[in-house]
Symmetry: C2
Subunit: 359 residues, 2 copies
């Protein structure tokens, strides 16, 4: 795959948004097909609008920018976003379903996503979804997505049916992602405390940031990066609660290694600079904190487009923050490239007004 | 109650630690007394050491500074801490127990705590514990603790048997705390996701910060401060995940008022400056962030003494941080006074080298 774009504005700065979600406009009725409830379907109840439904239960209202690539391209132009990295909506992970059914659903979503990417290669890159409830199937689907569909990587949840990502059963998946040179985007889902946090949108406002801290801690303390040092992991929502509670996490590691350092003796601070984070903090002071915490080479624009809890105008926070142009370009473009491609862009590409992305 | 201290050093700066835990050296065997398991007892298995046990299950090893006030006073002198605010260890809340039994346990703990405070009034202030599984009993015990025992306030959990603090059944408790002029310290306990987070001390490192965010969000969105505007609430661990994820929380409120603003239309930013936070961030950059976030009048030294996840040398972070002496004094002394007493200390007391605390 080769992707080109051309400078069209005097102050053009290329921009990749690594955190955007998409869903096919039309899907089989999975529950009917598989014979049990729990799957999402769309009710196209009005022009350009649909309801995501789980059986008769309303999940979320979405608009056509959730499925229509051409509308997305128009909105990207308005937002000065050059490219979007597409991933499914986490409710579609379906880790709870029978493995063969989740595989079929994942293949459908991945085929759709790859087709959008192939149709508009200047505008989109893609992350697969895989049925992690069966690691063998997940690995096969990831292989297919990398080798046949040319997707850049994969999006996974912060837990899999409440199993932490440190569990040994996931080693095979991480090994495959490393071997396939697939970047991994880790997005909170199936939030802890869910049943007791229903009011005030607390699963999204409290549970999701906690889930991301859970995933990062599990990956560090489980020694996953020691086993698979070439993994490229990026985390949604600026790393959730992790960056700001890192002092506590590190202190816990130092004071109670008998509890924390049981699978990996390396200090968690040694992993800073190894992870990528999206920029979705909704707060400039926290963005600066995140840049100091993770390094200016490890924060990438991520907007959660097209959802309202995301950044309404993707890139606005980074464009308006008190950053040097060099750092701004890293956050808008070259850090994402590095995460997606496994190497920092060549200097002339960083500096130049045209870019070329090879995948 | 009148408490005095006298300047004994040229650069003496008085210091209150609002977050310290204590337990009686000797307690009844609650499980035998009440006829069912689940309560904590101590096994004094070596000089100056004990095991906190839940039945035959080991909970935590503690040392005599957890129960011996004179050892605490010696350690305070070494740490330049003038006074400690004592509270029970959250595992003693026992919100899960039969209400009458939890009341008896609370009374025992509160009597012990008050006795320590009365014996060493220059060194200690105290927060009660109350059986919040029965709000009527909790209110009665809080009245007794304020009127008869002269404790300053009360420590409560971030949830009560997974009920959020926004639940209307707790209004009666908050009304009583306001009427009794009792400050409230909110400490995480019974952490969300517990059963799935057992490894790597994750309930302490991830669950606790999330619990504190849950409690603050519940209190804001539930409109508790609208009903009880004179409440003085302080939160442990620098507010956990709340300050750093506030951008997301506020954005969620703005974008989905249909989900978030259902009980209170006031923007969460209007509550900044209304809450106190302890300083236990383990990180100077995060301490500065917290001070900017909450206001320099709303951060108080809290160390979690005598536990290892706390600050090993209480006050060290504040003493060594790049702060003006005026702000440092606020964090070490006058902000705590304000939270405990309901008014900022008089200027002469702030400036002077002797202080007087009236409760």
């Amino acid at each position: 795959m080769q992707v080109f774009f051309v400078n069209q504005q005097p102050q053009f700065m290329p921009c990749i948004d690594i955190h955007t979600h998409i869903i096919p406009e039309n899907m089989p009725r999975w529950s009917q097909r598989f014979g049990y409830e729990g799957f999402i379907h769309l009710e196209h109840h009005a022009p350009c609008r649909a309801r995501m439904m789980r059986g008769k239960e309303f999940f979320r209202e979405i608009e056509s920018n959730c499925w229509d690539p051409e509308q997305r391209i128009r909105e990207c132009a308005a937002h000065q976003v050059t490219m979007q990295v597409l991933s499914t909506i986490p409710v579609m992970f379906s880790y709870w379903a029978r493995p063969a059914d989740a595989l079929e659903l994942s293949r459908f979503l991945n085929d759709h996503l790859a087709e959008v990417v192939q149709r508009y290669p200047r505008h989109f890159l893609g992350l697969a979804t895989v049925p992690l409830q069966d690691v063998g199937l997940a690995v096969k689907e990831l292989e297919r997505c990398r080798r046949e569909l040319s997707l850049c990587g994969v999006q996974i949840g912060t837990n899999v049916n409440q199993l932490n990502l440190s569990e040994p059963q996931f080693h095979e998946f991480f090994a495959a992602a490393q071997d396939l040179d697939a970047c991994i985007f880790i997005h909170p889902w199936d939030m802890m405390g869910g049943e007791h946090l229903q009011k005030y949108w607390l699963p999204w406002l409290v549970g999701m940031p906690a889930e991301t801290a859970r995933a990062i801690c599990s990956l560090i303390f489980g020694g996953v990066l020691e086993r698979f040092p070439r993994l490229r992991l990026a985390f949604a929502h600026g790393g959730g609660a992790f960056p700001a509670t890192f002092g506590r996490i590190a202190h816990g590691f130092e004071e109670r290694p008998d509890l924390v350092a049981v699978d990996n003796e390396r200090h968690p601070a040694e992993y800073l600079g190894r992870f990528w984070f999206d920029s979705l903090t909704h707060d400039e002071a926290m963005l600066h904190y995140l840049i100091r915490f993770a390094g200016e080479d490890r924060v990438c624009l991520g907007s959660d487009y097209p959802f309202p809890l995301g950044e309404r105008q993707p890139g606005k926070l980074i464009r308006e923050a008190a950053l040097t142009d060099a750092v701004r370009k890293k956050l808008l473009w070259s850090n994402a490239w590095h995460w997606l491609q496994g190497r920092a862009p060549a200097e002339n590409r960083q500096q130049g007004a045209t870019g070329q992305l090879e995948a």
